[in-house]
């Protein structure tokens, strides 16, 4: 009789927020894989109700300290739709610039301090620095450039204060922006070198069949607007998001699982999905590096998301440089508006993937309803299904090694657990104690 075996990862590491993994096996047959998120719920959608809509970018930023800009951008676009506000091209460019800062900071962190250690069997970026001092120091400096941009344009890197419904509280002065240019010129070259470095890592031969989903814009690499498209031919307007995807509440997680409504299937969002669906819109330098390192798209190997992040960092530096060089202060920095009852939704591209917000507001400027779907709750089910495929390759008698290999795959998604609870802990059930303890 086959024995039941449970493998548990109590606390996933080098991910943002708290969660675990619970795997139940019967002999070598996988009975259950649960990515459990035990991050305490914080009820943002609850306490946004009744708040002045002007506070929404400040409050939703606090969902996640790593990608506050993604929350701010999605919120302001959705609210502007509700209010009938059209922003100026200047504001639009500055919002892309702000997103470039966040992509550089977040991708820089994940590439160098969170995911890269997995390829060298070390526990942290700090340990990796003993072996690759130049590369890790370069990575930290890249990340710092992203933060410095956020500080100039956003006021500070974590929870920027300059994002307003309608635009920015204040447009930066020309000299504040000009000062960033030399460091960004260094950053562009350093991002190219960092991408070449990560592309040289040894990747597991692991290809999955995903439906990959991202925002797609006719003229530019997706950040703030566009249709929602997939590698299976889906193309919808953002207003059709909730008909196409629905969140489900499962017992083992304080994060909601998002699935396709048509067939309850899972899907994959993030940098790999974006590059697969928008490669030709990356800047010329980024495309050239993709060709040079032999990055073939579509790519369905989740571990290679680190290369996609590198290509996006190159793009972000390149686009940021263009915006910085052309920048002239402008007025108004904020488009005025009148309060009116309405509803609006928006999808933007957080570093970790598509993020969707919808708000209803009343004629007094108060929030009536808020709905927020972060990238990790969309990827959560996909990660579990990936593990079902991955486990037979890495399953060995040593539970710790098995668990480490599972964590490696989870980490390639750069899951943000703080975000998804609006994630993680690995438990492997082996013999005897048959029922795992879902938390």
């Amino acid at each position: 009789m086959a024995q039941t075996r449970t493998i548990k990862v109590e606390a996933l590491t080098r991910v943002e927020g708290e969660g675990g993994l619970h795997v139940r096996l019967n002999g070598n047959a996988i009975e259950e894989v649960q990515l459990s998120i035990y991050e305490p719920p914080r009820f943002f959608e609850g306490f946004l109700r009744g708040r002045p809509l002007e506070e929404v970018p400040d409050i939703t930023a606090r969902i996640c300290g790593i990608c506050p800009v993604a929350y701010q951008m999605s919120a302001v676009h959705a609210l502007e739709l509700a209010l009938g506000v059209s922003i100026s091209p200047e504001i639009r460019r500055l919002r892309r610039l702000l997103y470039c800062g966040e992509w550089i900071e977040s991708h820089g962190l994940h590439m160098h301090l969170l995911q890269a250690p997995d390829f060298f069997n070390v526990a942290s970026g700090i340990e990796l620095a003993a072996r690759f001092p130049h590369e890790v120091t370069r990575g930290l400096k890249l990340k710092k450039q992203g933060n410095e941009l956020l500080e100039v344009l956003g006021g500070r890197a974590i929870h920027p204060i300059n994002v307003a419904v309608g635009g920015f509280y204040r447009a930066p002065q020309k000299d504040e922006m000009q000062k960033l240019i030399p460091a960004f010129e260094w950053g562009l070259q350093a991002a190219i070198d960092a991408t070449r470095w990560v592309a040289g890592f040894e990747f597991p031969d692991f290809e999955r069949h995903y439906e990959m989903i991202s925002v797609c814009h006719p003229d530019e690499y997706p950040m703030n607007e566009g249709r929602i498209v997939s590698t299976s031919g889906l193309s919808i307007d953002v207003s059709e998001y909730e008909e196409t995807f629905a969140e489900h509440h499962v017992a083992h997680s304080t994060a909601l699982h998002s699935l396709r409504t048509s067939d309850q299937s899972s899907y994959h969002v993030g940098p790999l999905a974006r590059v697969n669906l928008n490669r030709e819109k990356l800047c010329e330098t980024s495309r050239r590096v993709a060709d040079e390192v032999g990055f073939i798209t579509p790519c369905f190997n989740p571990f290679k998301a680190i290369i996609a992040r590198g290509l996006e960092v190159i793009h972000a530096f390149d686009e940021a440089l263009t915006i910085l060089r052309d920048y002239k202060p402008f007025k108004p920095s904020r488009i005025p508006y009148e309060h009116r009852a309405g509803e609006g939704c928006a999808a933007t591209e957080a570093p970790r993937g598509l993020i969707y917000h919808r708000y209803q507001v009343d004629d007094q400027g108060k929030v009536v309803l808020a709905k927020i779907v972060p990238p990790t709750s969309q990827n959560q089910r996909q990660i579990e299904l990936d593990l079902v495929d991955w486990l037979p390759r890495v399953l060995c008698d040593d539970d710790q090694r098995t668990a480490d290999e599972c964590e490696r795959l989870i980490r390639s998604y750069d899951p943000c657990i703080s975000c998804s609870t609006h994630f993680l802990k690995l438990t492997v059930d082996r013999g005897g104690s048959s029922d795992g303890e879902p938390r």
Binding site: L12, T13, R14, V15, E16, G17, E18, Y38, P40, P41, R42, F43, E45, G46, F47, R49, G50, R51, P52, E55, D58, I59, R62, I63, C64, G65, I66, P68, P117, A123, S124, G125, I126, E127, A129, T137, L140, K143, K144, E151, G155, R156, A157, I158, H159, I161, A164, F168, Y169, R170, H248, H249, V250, A251, T254, L256, E407, C416, S418, H422
Partner: protein, 287 residues
């Protein structure tokens, strides 16, 4: 942007780099929070490797898979207590840490999630989760100091990484951290920022808010919204009277006082008073 503490930071960073005693063991714990305050440590890009050589990072799951058991010399605690499990876990942290430093508005004041302290918890659960029975949470969000003895509190939403480096440097060198104790208002005067309250009539919490952010908001043409919590001896009563007398409606002041440090006692008292005034004036009920 000039940070008023930048000079101290340099010395703290130098101190940490030359520490010769056995390296203190550092642990980072997370409760209900956004991760932003512990990210501040990873955001010390220029100092991170020096910090890692001055202290032994024994437990920091966000940064390292190596999780050494306690005891620890210093525990940095981020987040507030919102679940029965966390109320127990924080007791365990206290038992294995010599010095507990709480970092950020969630840990020091309950955070934005403490807004539920004023609301019907069941309504919130139903608003976010289809199956509330899967969720185990407390009806309140409370600061760490409500549960255990805290040795040092570092304010902010988020904290200042410069202040964090100063605290780590001080603890490594066995001295008290040197942190400013004045208000944001004074920082504006030092920076030469034109007062947004006086010049534009924008309600600004600068006079009652603890220094630390670098007085960013007024330099971006908006009022301070109190991220660093109340400064010592803050006179919220007088400031809110001033705002009311200059024509601001109580209901517009209420959300200003009741956000990221809503449950800090001085702000809580001020917002409750403003809520009462609002009810008196309008007969309407406000949260």
């Amino acid at each position: 942007m000039t940070d008023p503490t930048s000079l101290q930071i340099t010395s703290a960073a130098e101190n940490t780099a030359v520490a010769v005693r056995p390296r203190p063991r550092l642990a980072v714990f997370k409760f209900a929070s956004c991760d932003g305050c512990q990210l501040s440590l990873l955001d010390c890009e220029d100092e991170l490797l020096a910090v890692a050589s001055a202290v032994e990072i024994a437990y920091f799951p966000e940064a390292s898979s190596r999780m050494e058991p306690g005891p620890y010399d210093v525990a940095l605690v981020e987040g507030s207590i919102t679940t029965p499990h966390d109320a127990q876990r924080i007791q365990d942290v206290r038992r294995i840490a010599r010095t507990v430093v709480t970092i950020g508005a969630c840990a020091t004041a309950g955070g934005i999630q403490s807004l539920k302290n004023w609301a019907n918890h069941e309504d919130y659960l139903r608003c976010v989760y289809a199956s509330p029975e899967y969720i185990s949470t407390l009806a309140t969000s409370t600061p760490i100091a409500d549960h255990i003895k805290v040795d040092f509190e570092l304010r902010g939403c988020p904290i200042s990484r410069h202040q964090l480096l100063e605290v780590i440097g001080a603890l490594v060198n066995d001295r008290r951290p040197r942190l400013p104790a004045h208000s944001v208002c004074l920082d504006c005067k030092r920076k030469g920022t034109v007062c947004v309250e006086v010049a534009q009539g924008i309600p600004c919490l600068g006079p009652v808010t603890h220094s630390g952010c670098g007085a960013i908001c007024p330099s971006y043409d908006r009022g301070c919204y109190g991220c660093f919590g109340p400064v010592a001896q803050s006179n919220c009563h007088s400031l809110t009277n001033q705002f009311l007398d200059s024509g601001n409606a109580a209901e517009t002041l209420l959300p200003l006082l009741r956000n990221f440090n809503a449950s800090a006692p001085e702000f809580r008292e001020a917002s409750n008073r403003v809520a009462e005034i609002s009810i008196e004036r309008n007969g309407a009920s406000h949260r």
